[in-house]
């Protein structure tokens, strides 16, 4: 069951009618952005997302659109800020160390209310870490990056096909709310190849009355984040918060699998959810009534849906490619409705399905059946 406030996938029949092709994640995301009408791409080489930049280097000039390999990730996100202010549909991409450098730009994009889509193909950290897959930027993407009171929608695909769909959705959300949007992938999604029926979508364009096009026959426009008067900045912050509330109400996305009748739930996003899905199947085969809850939007987090699901479970297991980041949001959402356990691997290591089944068994053994559920 997919629960979203925005329809994001064509019906299965329509998808199967198309021919399947083998696509690499980074390249599929890049082409999805092009087909979604991306006018400009700015990036800096970093593993494991370099193929995204390379795809854009070849394809954007073919389409007559802008491509710049910037001097740094700081340069790339700053170019994105300028292009977005001039009304372009803009993509930047990076991996974790580069995401740290883009934090400054994210704060200014949020403050200036500029739509930009940022792909972070996460790798292990901290520091240079490794080039292996990780989900250790969850806190940075969902809670952190730049300074100031702001939120940024974060979408986390679990497959290459879903990443392509979410790319178009990301542009649409960015422009509808005038906000940067993060597409949070990982080294596996970036590097793996999967058979995909390419589904492209070009979100409609809207010309904002804020776009910088030259003050010819109209008063000059200013795109800025500086409001020196405290009253003015508070008013601006209240405006931003009202927008974030609207996003939190309307853009929550998640998916559940085999959760109806389940007694124990696994919560996982992105590539961890792929492992968890296999683990849930094996657990079911072994007689353990497991189900999967997969957040797709990490902010806004599907808190209400998870809380509701957890109220029927004897235990919840959160699985991540991190030392435990999303688990904090899961605990906040569940608020004690069920005991929450965690299993994570770091440094580019990926938990195996049997590891997750083992963690499910331990959680099962440490908990009691829910009163009245059996």
């Amino acid at each position: 069951m997919i629960a979203t406030s925005v329809p994001s996938r064509p019906p299965a029949a329509a998808r199967n009618a198309e021919r399947r092709v083998l696509l690499k994640g980074n390249e599929a995301l890049a082409e999805a952005a092009i087909q979604a009408g991306c006018d400009a791409y700015f990036g800096y080489p970093i593993t494991p997302q370099a193929e995204l930049l390379e795809w854009m280097a070849r394809r954007m000039p073919e389409e007559g659109r802008a491509f710049v390999q910037a001097e740094s990730e700081i340069g790339a996100i700053s170019m994105a800020l300028g292009a977005a202010a001039a009304g372009a549909r803009v993509l930047v991409s990076t991996s974790s160390p580069g995401f740290s450098l883009m934090a400054e730009g994210m704060s200014y994009l949020a403050g200036s209310e500029l739509p930009v889509v940022l792909v972070d193909v996460m790798r292990g950290g901290p520091g240079l870490g490794s080039i292996g897959p990780a989900q250790s930027d969850y806190l940075a993407a969902v809670k952190g990056h730049g300074h100031g009171d702001y939120r940024v929608p974060v979408l986390a695909p679990a497959s290459i096909a879903e990443g392509m769909v979410l790319m178009a959705d990301a542009f649409e959300i960015a422009e509808r709310y005038r906000t940067p949007v993060i597409l949070l992938a990982d080294g596996i999604l970036g590097q793996a190849m999967e058979p995909v029926v390419p589904t492209y979508r070009m979100p409609p364009r809207t010309d904002g009355d804020w776009v910088l096009s030259g003050a010819d026959g109209r008063p000059p426009r200013v795109v800025k984040s500086l409001h020196l008067r405290p009253e003015a900045l508070e008013a601006h912050n209240q405006h931003l918060q009202a927008k974030f509330s609207e996003i939190a109400a309307r853009e929550v996305r998640w998916e559940t699998e085999r959760l109806d009748g389940a007694e124990i739930g696994v919560v996982a996003y992105g590539v961890a959810a792929r492992v968890a899905r296999t683990a849930v199947g094996r657990a079911r085969d072994a007689g353990l009534a497991a189900g999967l809850f997969r957040p797709i939007s990490l902010w806004p987090f599907p808190s209400a849906a998870l809380a509701e699901a957890a109220s029927r479970l004897r235990a919840v297991l959160v699985v991540e490619l991190s030392a435990g980041q999303m688990v904090e949001d899961a605990r906040l959402a569940i608020e004690g409705r069920a005991p929450v356990f965690f299993h994570g691997r770091t440094g580019g290591m990926v938990p195996s399905p049997s590891e997750v089944v083992g963690a499910l068994r331990r959680a099962w053994a440490q908990t009691e059946p829910r009163g009245g559920t059996r």
Partner: protein
């Protein structure tokens, strides 16, 4: 210290009627500025406003405001503006340029912004030969934050973060960033002017005009450094600070550094 206002002689009775020889440029908003008394930014704003108007590009100009005293340039100059992060104006301008090829793109930056935190962005905008024009106002200090050492501060200059004066062994040397940028093949025009005297101001205007023409002609990156004064940051009266610009010009000589358009 008291500053004497100049006393104008009374006009003789048979003088011809007054004739306006200088007014407010059309692109400069009719309002008082936040700049300190005697600050050179007002002069540079005027020159930019005059040149954009004379070249007829104001209606398709997108300017980038940089962090520093002149971040509020958008309150005075009657063109579209976007505000950049500190030092990033040339990258922001690059983004605009690449999606608006027919527009006129300008950055207005100070020396802390351009020659310290934004060194990478300005160097690579020049290296790419980005078709943008940078107005670089060098007053040798961080005016907005209280007059600290800037990369361009003179040797011996007392600032709030070099209370004993800039010592090369501790604080390094003044950076000749415009000379460095002039070396880049992508830099089509680089020059250094000053707000010191009416005559240097006139030459600076010609430089700004030539830099803007360079962009319009599609020749590459163009930059005009303008030596300007910061009376408050320097601890001088406006008159003293203007006189001091002659000493600043000994470290930063005035003139055209490169004009590839003229080289043909």
């Amino acid at each position: 210290m008291t500053v004497q206002a100049p006393v104008l002689p009374a006009a003789p009775a048979d003088a011809p009627p007054a004739r306006l020889i200088a007014g407010r440029p059309r692109l400069l908003e009719d309002r008082s500025t936040h700049y300190c008394p005697g600050c050179g930014h007002g002069v540079v704003h005027r020159l930019v406003a005059e040149v954009l108007d004379e070249l007829g590009v104001a209606g398709r100009t997108i300017a980038v405001a940089a962090v520093g005293c002149a971040v509020f340039a958008y309150d005075y100059l009657h063109v579209d503006f976007v505000e950049a992060q500190h030092g990033r104006a040339p990258a922001v301008a690059t983004g605009i340029r690449r999606v608006r090829p027919d527009h006129f793109v300008l950055t207005y930056q100070g020396d802390g912004d351009l020659a310290a935190i934004g060194t990478a962005e300005i160097v690579h905008a020049a290296a790419r030969g980005e078709r943008i024009t940078t107005i670089f106002v060098n007053n040798g200090t961080y005016g907005m934050t209280g007059g600290q050492l800037a990369p361009t501060s003179l040797l011996g200059q007392r600032t709030s973060s070099t209370p004993l004066g800039r010592d090369a062994r501790l604080n390094g040397y003044p950076i000749p960033i415009t000379e460095m940028l002039a070396l880049a093949p992508g830099t089509a025009y680089a020059a250094r002017g000053s707000v010191a005297t009416p005559s240097t101001i006139g030459r600076t205007k010609a430089m700004i005009r030539r830099a803007c023409e360079t962009q319009i002609e599609g020749l590459g990156f163009s930059i005009v450094e303008v030596l300007s004064n910061c009376p408050v940051g320097w601890g001088m009266t406006p008159v003293e600070s203007i006189a001091h610009l002659a000493e600043v010009a000994e470290t930063y000589p005035l003139g055209v550094l490169v004009d590839r358009g003229a080289e043909g």
